[in-house]
Symmetry: C2
Subunit: 246 residues, 2 copies
Amino acid sequence: MITLHPLQGIPPVEPGDDLAALVLESARRSGIELCNGALVICQKVVSKSEGRVVKLDTIEPSAEARQIAREDDKDPRVVEVVLGEATRIVRRGHGVMICETRHGFVCANAGVDLSNATHPDSAVLLPIDPDASARGLHNALLAAGTGPLAVVISDTFGRPWREGLVDVALGSAGIRPIEDLRGGVDLVGRELEVTATATCDQLAAAAGLLMPKDSGVPAVWVDGVAVQGDGSVRETLRDSSTDLFR
Amino acid sequence: MITLHPLQGIPPVEPGDDLAALVLESARRSGIELCNGALVICQKVVSKSEGRVVKLDTIEPSAEARQIAREDDKDPRVVEVVLGEATRIVRRGHGVMICETRHGFVCANAGVDLSNATHPDSAVLLPIDPDASARGLHNALLAAGTGPLAVVISDTFGRPWREGLVDVALGSAGIRPIEDLRGGVDLVGRELEVTATATCDQLAAAAGLLMPKDSGVPAVWVDGVAVQGDGSVRETLRDSSTDLFR
């Protein structure tokens, strides 16, 4: 049995805020024991706490950004911020820019987001190193006396072929992001060939059920998850040489 | 709060089996009340109950299937079955065939799967109409006296750009597959532009945490999900005219 608890009452996060303290306080108020489970926390509050917020009136758009903005009817300053976060544009069309980020994520607008930015004329960027962010939060929670736990930093991404967003993992600590069953056998004894489960992505999606963008819930405690091994979400990123869609 | 309960003790499913009865019996044994939540059931047992199983020794591979099998080191009979389920091959490379199915799903091998087939020399196909399968199970459960509930049929799909499989929804009944927040506002009053959550896909992924392929758990009861509206997973399929990756 797995139980998902929304962590409620976490106030708007500002640069420098102590996320571990905010999480612990919310859990304490709700009577949730942080032990043997996974904390899924949305990228936006992590980014804000790390100061990954850009005021748009400080941005001077390049010629390329102005060109794209004209063609796609966007704010050229936002396009400039997106280009700064992207290592390449994988596809552009229908007003959407699918970019590869410096981390290797492929997503719309290189993860740059205007919604729920604390200040109306600002944009929130992805954390510089979401695995390191997860590791820092993981260490801080353990140091505060929690039981064994995993930390997953999530964001909502669109997907090819399917409408609607799902949450995926950007960073993790205290858990293996991929559970590899290859080499095992199925229930009738046939060898499982390509069965590696993206556990942290499934955790992110599960937590997403309780974190719609208008809910004010920035984190979910997933109780009852086997916390085994350790690893980086970078393991989840497919090498572009074996990727059929880049 | 959302709770995920594995439905245990469901025996291997054969063509013609009554899935609703098997689900109800498993829930009863575990003391789970099927009310105000979602039943996520994996495609494989639905397909088997519907007889969507092909014995490979009945398959005569075409020249095209033999050619692909030679190039990709596959069983030509399996390739023939895949081609029969696909309306087109979206990409082929690294020994993988990414196909569009007759339903409009884009996935490896058009959803044809050899693992956990009841008979070693057989392949399991996707249900002909997974929404209809979900509807049939939904109706049967309601008729048996359950409370309001949703039914989601799930399968594990790979994804571009990321390693590892996640569960997605193939069919649904009694729930809106996409929760559209567009037109709403975020927490600072900014209009939400592209925030439609793929609720049924998130439910499938959540349930996937309890359904690894070697677990023998073919269904999960997701308790505490708001069961609102109704719709078809076909709504989740992006029109190929607005898809940047087809």
